[in-house]
Symmetry: C2
Subunit: 209 residues, 2 copies
């Protein structure tokens, strides 16, 4: 497992950089299409601190283009056949971004509930986004990801009236895999619950506009 | 890439077994929660041929339990931290199942749009399931998977009235990555479009009840 050892060394370098420059870095993880980019789009509107974004995808720059349109410095990493971002890629992307002291760095990982869980990027927090449409069993079927997350955002709450989704079972499943996980329910698209997410960010030191 | 070489040898063994016994094997792939198991549940009701199912998940036997309740022989493979099924695992699982000549084998892969695309299991067909809730850009953002598929099932069509989903863009994206891909739109849960899927199976030699 030399690969993970090497990755951990790069992660440590990233972590030290974030600490020295008081940068809050968050790694966003989810299945494909759970709403990571939408969440970032709606969050960027609310923040006053300097912010940079790193986007990870197998192909295209579609997500970086969406973020770039909001006037935020963003770097797209294409992993080709690769299934996750690693700390080395992040270190390089950081060099290409105008990171500010006391600012934020959002990292949107490749849409994948499996492999990205194994690769520490040196981030301060891990946020896993689960959409209501995926079903309430994902936390126990893909446990590594939920075990390694600080916060679970249950997104697409606006679709709940049209789904047979058991909220309690979902929360129980997440807590059974990770008793310390915090949970926020929201609709990034429609805005419900987003205030809880902004409050969570503020708790981590970043006041809103 | 010894790993893929070794896998291809096992895949070839599986393929030869399927050919000698006239077994139709299908590998079902998707993001987590797109509806693979639901599709299998609703399909099993319709088929009269002997059928076995292999389920792949990181953890739990929840999917195998759902299939087992329908009286179909099923084997659950748990991959632990692994992100995909491989041909060696399938070969072993086949030994544990009462496969019948002229029958069917459905393989539900681990929910992951990235890694399983690289591992040939020896299957006759690859069916990728995309749900409307994931967005129309997935075929171009995760191109390897859609490029390697024979059929794309766009599932959860019942939710379209509540989504901003562009069907034409989705189809164009899929065709741009794989001009030969067939596309069926359905709702495994509600039944719309499922007849098109049953007709597709029948074309591959398996009449319905
Ligand atoms: N109904 C509803 N749809 C949403 C919500 N958030 C995102 N979506 C939709 O879900 C689809 C995918 O959203 P994205 O933000 O691109 O998801 P993603 O997680 O960034 O996707 P990848 O980067 O490809 O993994 C799009 O069609 C969005 O409009 C939500 O809160 N409610
Ligand atoms: N609205 C709607 N929901 C569906 C449909 N098909 C599946 N679902 C729901 O989507 C969720 C996930 O379905 P599953 O069949 O477990 O999905 P899966 O692809 O097997 O999931 P994994 O095996 O964990 O990757 C469940 O809550 C299903 O009820 C559909 O056609 N329409
Ligand atoms: Mg995205
Ligand atoms: Mg399943």
């Amino acid at each position: 497992k030399d690969l993970l050892e090497k990755n951990n060394n790069y992660a440590q370098m990233n972590r030290e950089y974030f600490f020295e420059h008081n940068i809050l870095s968050i790694n966003f993880l989810s299945s494909p299409g759970s709403g990571k980019t939408t969440l970032l789009e709606k969050t960027i509107d609310q923040l006053s601190q300097p912010l940079c974004v790193i986007e990870g995808d197998q192909q295209t720059s579609r997500d970086a283009d969406r973020i770039g349109q909001l006037g935020v410095p963003v770097k797209q990493i294409n992993t080709g056949k690769g299934c996750h971002l690693d700390a080395h890629m992040i270190g390089h992307a950081m060099e290409a971004l105008p990171l500010s002291d006391n600012g934020l760095l959002f990292i949107e990982n490749v849409g994948n509930l499996v492999c990205p869980a194994l690769f520490d990027l040196g981030e301060n927090y891990r946020v896993v986004v689960l959409s209501t449409t995926e079903g309430e069993d994902k936390p126990i079927k893909y446990p590594n990801m939920f075990h390694s997350a600080d916060l679970m955002i249950l997104n697409k709450s606006d679709l709940l009236p049209h789904l047979e989704f058991n909220l309690d079972a979902c929360f129980d499943n997440a807590k059974s895999v990770n008793p310390n996980i915090e949970i926020i329910t929201c609709s990034a698209l429609r805005g419900h619950g987003m205030q809880d997410w902004f409050n969570w960010l503020e708790k981590k030191h970043f006041p809103q506009k």
